[in-house]
């Protein structure tokens, strides 16, 4: 099957690149796709060389770079250092974003409702089934909560968003960790599955008394009712760029081998608890070294000039200190 898939992938890439031989090719995460295409547009204007990125999902992106059909892969769930070693990959974080819980309850406006990790886990475990449950009431003494059944929405497709969301729940709830665990697709105890961030936002936007989780940009664009969360420091935070940046700045990238770091449940009074990053994967010793160097040039451009574009789309750019670290990694690891 891998062989067949490699051929199909090669065919796709060949078909799409034959017209523009100099294009940089990549595949993977859908999370990074909006900002990556914006960067690619700007990069094309400056240098005339384009980027051909196929947003086919993190898992598929990893397979494509393993099969050597693309120059870079992008994944929301980082590979562990051993795996990187085995495949001969270099890995680094490219961009960060936040995941927010969204609800649809009559009379409740964005940011009104406060949830904490344990309650969120209990809702997704099915132990809290009604909106007027004592645990939710305790967090929201001022809200008028209906005595309606909670209808839980989760992702049906395997996804990096799910990976980071379930990772957070596993960190804050021992029950979740032992019963469900974390991964790109897990065994959901309750709820309905929808495809993609747009599927979840569509569901929560339409149906009453629902709860779901989406990337912040989707919640914002679709005007969904996001909730505030209680973070590790015990403080209630609203989802906003400052809170996302606070979580990112507390991350200790320098001491994480292969940059393996998942940004959920980070310390800090202002930190938003569910932040995710997308990682780029490249062969350290690529067969087509010229293409590798072209890709690095593009990522350099994205780090130096892409920060503002990323913020416009509600992403969080990597801090400068981390970018310096990454540039060192490139120089040391990627053979030209």
């Amino acid at each position: 099957m891998n062989f067949i898939k490699a051929i199909v992938a090669a065919g796709l890439v060949a078909a799409s690149t034959s017209a523009f031989a100099a294009d940089i090719t990549g595949a993977g995460s859908t999370f990074i796709f909006p900002v990556l295409s914006k960067w690619a547009d700007a990069y094309k204007k400056e240098t005339t060389s384009g980027v051909n990125y196929q947003s086919i999902g993190s898992g598929a992106g990893i397979k494509q770079i393993q099969a050597n059909t693309v120059t870079f892969g992008a994944t929301d769930a980082p590979l562990k250092a051993e795996q990187l070693e085995k495949d001969g990959f270099a890995q680094w974080p490219m961009i960060m974003g936040a995941i927010v819980p969204v609800v649809n309850i009559d009379g409740i406006k964005p940011g009104d409702m406060v949830l904490d990790g344990d309650t969120l886990a209990k809702i997704y475990l099915g132990t809290i089934t009604k909106w007027d449950d004592a645990a939710i009431k305790k967090l929201n003494p001022k809200l008028e909560l209906p005595s309606a059944a909670i209808s839980v929405v989760h992702r049906a497709d395997g996804s990096g968003t799910t990976f980071n969301f379930t990772d957070y729940l596993a960190k804050v709830s021992a029950d979740w960790k032992s019963k469900v665990g974390s991964g790109t697709a897990v065994e959901w105890p309750v709820g309905v599955g929808a495809k993609g961030n747009e599927g979840v936002s569509g569901n929560v936007g339409q149906a009453k008394n629902t709860i779901g989780y989406v990337e912040y940009a989707y919640a914002k664009q679709n005007k969904l009712t996001y909730t505030a969360l209680v973070n590790k420091a015990g403080k209630t935070v609203q989802p906003a760029t400052e809170a996302f940046q606070a979580a990112a700045s507390n991350a200790d990238w320098a001491n994480a081998p292969g940059y393996y770091l998942i940004l959920t449940d980070q310390p800090g009074d202002k930190s938003w608890p569910i932040v995710a990053s997308t990682f780029i994967l490249m062969h350290k010793d690529a067969t087509d070294k010229a293409a590798s160097q072209e890709a690095i040039k593009f990522f350099k451009f994205a780090f130096s000039k892409g920060g503002k574009m990323a913020e416009e789309l509600d992403y969080i750019p990597m801090p400068d200190a981390v970018v310096k670290l990454i540039e060192k990694t490139w120089a040391a690891d990627i053979k030209s």
């Binding site: 099957m1 898992g59 059944a149 497709d157 395997g158 665990g181 697709a185 709820g191 495809k195 569901n203």
Partner: protein, 329 residues
């Protein structure tokens, strides 16, 4: 054409043997070309089966036959626990409900069109049915999500749930809470999708009933119902069942529309208003991000669907053969 022009040029006295061998060459070539086409179908089919088995082998080795009756689907557990009972149940239940609705309605439309419909209406209704068949399945999915879903969740399902509340068995089947995304919603959409197949084929075969048979029946005083029941249906049984099986085949394998509205949940709930999943919906949602045993399990699901569809078609064939035998005696 080439043969013809050769003949023209040969003129008299024309060489009979040469002309015949030219014909023969044409025949042989034609035979081989068609034969190659036929063989290629077998090769493709064989190739698909072999690649499915090869892909599914790790999962087959790991889970064995227990795969068929395990309900748990936990790809992220270590090691992954995969069972196909949920998707198999969802596939069978949605197809069953869909056929329950589509068969009477589809045949009803066909009877109206061929026996009772005024000429003026016949074409518009016929064209509408054909258009229904031409709508891409994703459109049905969107309609099911945005229009049918809210109607079912806020109007139809609460009514049914309160109607059967407390009744044994039915109370479970029509149990709450109401939901946008449910087995029932998917089954309704499937019913609409397969309706044109049943109707179109039934209309075609109903037209093959010799008028003299129907006229004779009317002549001895039969009502329209009796003519349909005792003349038209028995005469066209084989064709109608063929249409139904074609429709069932589509219902079993339909992917996109179902993925949109079934709720993609691997748990089996007793209620038809609860979420579920089908084999094809499970594959469509999870394949891209799967790897290792999880992916192999999904391929095994695909193989199961293949086998399931094969058995449905085989059963249909067997049924038809029996019916024909009986009719012959």
């Amino acid at each position: 054409m080439a043969v013809q022009s050769d003949l023209m040029e040969a003129a008299e006295p024309y060489d009979r043997a040469k002309a015949l061998s030219a014909f023969k060459l044409g025949d042989v070539t034609f035979y081989w070309i068609t034969r190659l086409c036929a063989i290629s179908v077998l090769l493709i089919l064989g190739g698909i089966i072999i690649s499915l088995i090869v892909g599914a082998w790790p999962a087959m080795k790991e889970y064995g036959f227990a795969f068929l009756w395990t309900q748990r689907w936990a790809p992220s557990a270590d090691p992954p626990v995969l069972g196909a009972l949920g998707p198999i149940y969802g596939t069978l239940v949605t197809s069953f409900i869909a056929m329950l609705i589509a068969i009477p309605v589809g045949i009803g439309i066909a009877i109206f069109l061929t026996e009772l419909c005024p000429q003026m209406l016949r074409r518009p209704i016929g064209i509408a049915i054909e258009l229904l068949a031409g709508i891409p399945s994703i459109i049905y999915g969107m309609w099911g999500f945005f229009v049918l879903g809210p109607f079912l969740a806020y109007t139809f399902q609460p009514f049914m749930i309160s109607l059967f509340d407390g009744v044994p068995v039915l109370g479970t089947i029509f149990g709450g809470p109401p939901s946008y995304l449910s087995l029932f919603n998917a089954a309704l959409i499937l019913a609409i999708m397969v309706l044109p197949f049943i109707t179109a084929i039934s209309v075609d075969v109903f037209k093959t009933v010799p008028p003299v048979l129907k006229e004779a029946a009317y002549g001895v005083g039969c009502t329209t119902w009796e003519v349909v029941r005792n003349v038209v249906i028995p005469y066209t049984r084989v064709g109608v069942i063929g249409g139904i099986m074609l429709a069932l085949g589509r219902a079993l394998g339909e992917t996109m529309a179902v993925t949109f509205i079934i709720g993609n949940s691997f748990r089996i709930s007793g209620s038809i208003f609860g979420p579920g999943t089908t084999i094809s919906a499970a594959i469509a949602s999870e394949f891209a991000e799967s790897d290792g045993l999880h992916q192999s399990g999904l391929i095994l699901l695909g193989l199961l669907l293949f086998v399931l569809t094969f058995f449905v078609l085989a059963a249909a064939r067997l049924m038809l053969m029996r019916l024909e035998k009986k009719a012959g005696n």
